[in-house]
Amino acid sequence: MGDHSHGTDEHGHEHLGHPLSVRFLVGILMALLFLTVVTVGVSYIEMGRTVALLVALLVAVVKASLVALFFMHLRWDKPFNSVILVASMAFLILFIAFAKLDTGEYMHEITPMTEAPGYVEQGLKGN
């Protein structure tokens, strides 16, 4: 966790933040809006499920990183804050990947409850 503090001036009333220029922030918004148009536009083009998913995710990731880096100041923050965000993402991906790997392996053999012997006759159980 390589974060080291910036030191403090003797009166403790120093600038803590890192004010960004308005033009810069508006620029980021423009980029985000542009990417939104892109992702909506792309969704009208016919392409395979997987491709569509990947494209959408790619754009979303770019947008997300813009927000995180500049609106949320990660770009100028202590690295450990980014480490936390990345770590949470990493564990999430890991979770999804393992669960998917498993369900993917057996889903094909899942028979819905209605297949179970005597179930069809029984009809869908009410509650």
Partner: protein, 386 residues
């Protein structure tokens, strides 16, 4: 399930390992064999899977002993050898010793690699059943087992009962339960009609969850019985499934000869058209009705479902039912004549359409052909109010 790319890949990787392992096992064959002191604690080994699993058990037990005994000795010895009065300084101020620490990191690492591999290899043997296996379709529902054989013979489980002296659990009827032919691999294809259950026979070292909405399977080859009587084992449910989880047992029989198995099969399938009541009584146990419905005049026995004793002949006010669910609209159904029979037919084939007043446990529909249905209804009528 088996033959997944990753599994096979690991298998190939293990090719080398298996050579070394074969060597290891030949060295340790005495120790790892069934019934050696290192398999103490395990139940009798009665199937083809028991050998490998017990030898893994023995191997791990040996390793654990090798680690545990010295640790304990060191613990006690140090505690007294270095016991000192308050204020005395420690004899040593060593803070670390990298070679030593690396050693006791690397050695366990190597050991667990071997351990993983043997477990992996033996578990893989248990996934795919041989092609020629004898397949039984097992249905688990709260809280009973039902076994459907290729011959069409269907049997409910035998949960047995505690002997009066509370010293043994006795089977109730030798024809009930899971009957297996000798000497052939058995494949069980399992479904659940309600919640998770798990199929477990300790002596066979097999366990597999039975998952609603999924078809799971397992296989094993039981050992041949020594005598000319069938060997009896208890099948246990090991996945918590509610109220009577601990009573979700069944007797399992391995027949000594094909003859005795076929004799059972004949008994299990035979129905006497000229004697519908008696045939209905047979179906009552085979189809598993006996696990929930009592037939004793005094109403003793299972009470999960309404008793059949005195059911036929009830008047509409005595026999109230709810439509659709235990809390649905209520009305009376007279258990007489055509209407009564119609009600019984519906309640067997589509049990959740009408719920008897005071009973909330849903019942799984029973697969019966029209003849069987006729026999069952005749049987119920025979139990009616005189």
């Amino acid at each position: 399930m088996a033959g997944s790319s990753i599994t096979t890949a690991l298998g190939d990787l293990g090719g080398l390992g298996s050579a070394g392992l074969a060597w290891l096992e030949t060295r340790m064959v005495g120790l790892l064999a069934e019934g050696s002191i290192w398999t103490t604690g395990m139940p009798a080994a009665k199937s083809n899977h028991a050998g490998p699993i017990d030898s893994d058990y023995a191997f791990i037990t040996i390793i654990c002993t090798i680690f545990f005994v010295p640790i304990t000795i060191a613990l006690v010895y140090f505690a007294f050898r270095y016991k000192k009065a308050p204020g005395e300084k420690a004899e040593s101020d060593v803070s670390h010793n990298t070679p030593l620490e690396v050693t006791w990191t690397v050695i366990p690492m190597l050991i667990v690699v071997v351990m993983f591999y043997i477990g992996f290899r033996h578990a893989n043997m248990m996934y795919a059943a041989p092609a020629d296996a004898y397949t039984v379709h097992v249905t688990a529902s709260q809280w009973s087992w039902s076994f459907l054989h290729p011959s069409g013979a269907q049997m409910g489980g035998d949960i047995g009962k505690l002997s009066p002296d509370r010293k043994a659990r006795e089977t109730t009827d030798p024809d009930l339960g899971l009957h297996l032919p000798p000497g052939v691999p058995i494949r069980l294809v399992m479904n659940s009609t309600d919640v998770l259950h798990s199929f477990y026979i300790p002596e066979f070292r097999v366990k597999q969850d039975v998952v609603p909405g999924k078809t799971s399977s397992l296989w094993f080859t039981p050992d041949l019985p020594e005598g000319d009587e069938p060997d009896m084992y208890w099948l246990l449910c090991t996945e918590y499934c509610g109220k009577d989880h601990s009573n979700m047992l069944s007797a399992v029989y391995v027949h000594p000869t094909m003859e005795s198995f076929l004799q059972w099969q004949t008994r299990a399938t035979a129905l006497d058209p000229d004697n519908p009541v008696e045939s209905g009584a047979k179906l009552y146990v085979r189809k598993g009705c006996a696990t929930c419905h009592s037939v004793a005049p005094d109403g003793s026995g299972p009470n999960t479902g309404p008793t059949w004793s005195g059911l036929w002949g009830l008047s509409a006010d005595e026999h109230q039912v709810h439509e659709g669910s235990p809390t649905g609209p209520k009305r009376g159904v007279a258990m007489t004549g055509e209407a009564g029979e119609e009600y019984l037919r519906e309640s067997i084939r589509n049990p959740t359409a009408l719920w008897r007043e005071g009973y909330i446990q849903p019942m799984a529909a029973v697969k019966v052909d029209d003849t069987e249905l006729f026999f069952l209804i005749e049987y119920i009528k025979s139990l009616g109010k005189q």
